[in-house]
């Protein structure tokens, strides 16, 4: 009998090897455009991870993460197009802006919990969505701003940048993988355990001496960082930024991906995001109402697998590897 951890480790290595080989494997086997679809999946799963950190590990359901995604996008686009920054300073701006915004919004938002928290996050993202729509000279409003890609690395005559598809893909892959690894470290650290204690029982958490408000604020800022970084990557990936990505519809999608994949599991957001984006890509070319399928899948999973696809998978593994009595 193979132990459960062996199976999971094998699966993880397999997925890792596949993801690394995508820029060479996909063009050989399938349509090239799947390289970019997978890159997009990686970016959105990083975005969903920010929802996961808040909801799955701290117990705060945010419907406003798109605000930080949008700030990440605009940080990069405004940095490159209006301020003439290079790749790295623009990326820095695309991370610093959402982190600062998350701190400001968090100071107010984490005073609240449950639906009050969810509502205030929506309100914050709506305010800035409408601001971005009206401040056309700066943001381009609905049309957004597109920009010319700066190169990422330059060694003498040779340049590396997002213009090269393989480089773009690998840069995204390594960034997302590094974030997930850091999150894994976080979950095994004192800070991570404190988050989970607050998720399970915030009253008890304050009784044992945890500063619940401060810890929630820290989690909110870290989530803002993850959402902002994914937005910054998406801006470089799409070479533009637009206010439409700040709408709460975008936040809501990340919540669905996270819950379907498995909130409170490290890879749940990746699984949920992959599932839905693959469905979208496969079905939308044949049938324009692909969101009906997405909705049906989401409802079925929420009803029959409340801990998401990853939870379902773990239950199956447990049942399969449990000693027969």
């Amino acid at each position: 009998m193979i132990a459960r951890t062996t199976i999971e480790r094998g699966l993880l290595w397999g997925t890792g090897a596949f993801l690394l080989s995508v820029p060479w494997l996909i063009p050989a086997l399938a349509d090239r455009f799947w390289v970019n679809v997978i890159a997009e999946i990686l970016i959105w799963s990083l975005f969903a991870s920010s929802v996961n950190l808040l909801f799955g590990y701290v117990g705060l359901l945010s419907f406003g993460q798109a605000l930080f995604f949008g700030f990440g996008m605009y940080g990069v686009a405004i940095g490159v197009e209006k301020l003439g920054l290079g790749f790295w300073p623009a990326l820095g701006l695309g991370v610093a802006a959402p982190v600062a915004m998350a701190f400001v919004a968090g100071v107010f938002a984490v005073r609240l919990t449950w639906h009050y928290f969810a509502i205030i996050t929506v309100v914050f993202s709506l305010i800035f969505y409408f601001l971005a729509l009206t401040m056309k000279p700066l943001t381009g409003g609905d049309d957004g701003i597109s920009f010319t890609l700066p190169s990422t690395f330059r060694f003498g005559a040779s340049e590396w940048g997002f213009a090269q598809e393989a480089f773009q893909y690998l840069f995204i892959l390594f960034t997302v993988a590094a974030c997930l690894y850091a999150m894994r470290r976080l979950l095994g650290s004192p800070l991570g355990k404190a988050f989970m204690a607050i998720r399970d029982n915030d009253v008890r958490a304050s009784l044992i001496g945890l500063n619940v408000y401060w810890l929630r604020l820290i989690a909110f800022v870290i989530a803002g960082f993850l959402a902002g970084l994914s937005g910054a990557l998406f801006a470089f990936f799409g070479r533009y930024a637009s206010a439409t990505y700040m709408f709460y519809h975008v936040s809501g999608e990340a919540v669905v991906w996270t819950i379907v994949g498995g909130a409170g599991t490290l890879l749940g957001p990746l699984v949920g995001t992959s599932l839905f984006i693959v469905i979208r890509e496969v079905v939308s070319t044949h049938w324009q109402h692909h969101s009906l399928i997405v909705g049906a899948v989401a409802i079925l999973i929420v009803i029959y697998a409340p801990r998401g696809v990853v939870g379902l998978w773990r239950d199956l593994l447990d049942r399969w590897s449990a000693p027969k009595s």
Binding site: A182, R185, L186, G188, S189, P190, L191, G192, K193, A194, M196, A197, R199, D200, N201, V203, R204, A205, S206, L207, I208, G209, L210, N211, V212, L215, I218, G264
Partner: protein, 267 residues
Amino acid sequence: MSPSSAGRAAEPILRIEGLTKRFGGLTAVDRVTLAFAPRRLHAIIGPNGAGKTTLFNLISGFLPSDEGRVFFAGQEISRLRPHRISRLGISRTLQVKSVFQQLTVSENLWITAQAKRGVMNPFRSTSSYRDTCEKVERVLEQLELTRLADRQAGTLSYGDVALLEIGMAIAADPRLLLLDEPICGMSPAETERTVVKIRELAQTIDIVIIEHDMEVVFEIADDITVMAQGAILASGSPKEIAANEEVREAYLGRPEDEDYTEEPARA
């Protein structure tokens, strides 16, 4: 937790002066003045609604008091927030058992033991904190929970959850432990096991316990305080309390009899 010198022994571990809490028109705690001497096991008894749990909530900072002051080992704690009070060394359990459901038993103890020492490190692994891990092992052994160390707290039996909660209270290295009905809802066997543990703990930690089971209270307490309608009715040794006419009338004897005779009349 140094053994108290003669000078400190005189100073009460907890001193309450004129503490009052009103909920609208109801005065839940009414000008309560109390002092708990160190190194003794104190019990607070009283009928439902006497204000016992509210008193705990005021001491632990869970509710703001309307009037009065609370001193812990000489330091005023009346206006501090719960996590500050907890860090000073007051641990408490809740009447409705509450642990961290999705964490394992040892994780529950770990985070409780570490909470005061700082939890802001996002990268260091919890297993590398040797002091805290040793503390967890000791508490697990002390409460005979070692076999359940890796079980999720949400899957434990009621009696084990209650033990875990006491374990969490002592994992924080408190100087004062407030136990709110620790054996409520337990089977006789679980009760016996828990009473033994509480007695052991009382050797090293000052304990104030709220309990309804009179048999248990008179068995373990050094001092008993009786509350009724938010105020202190009597205070003294178990013998004095048992002999106190007022207490007997108000609480120990008659009211229950009256309840039984009243029931049919209402029907």
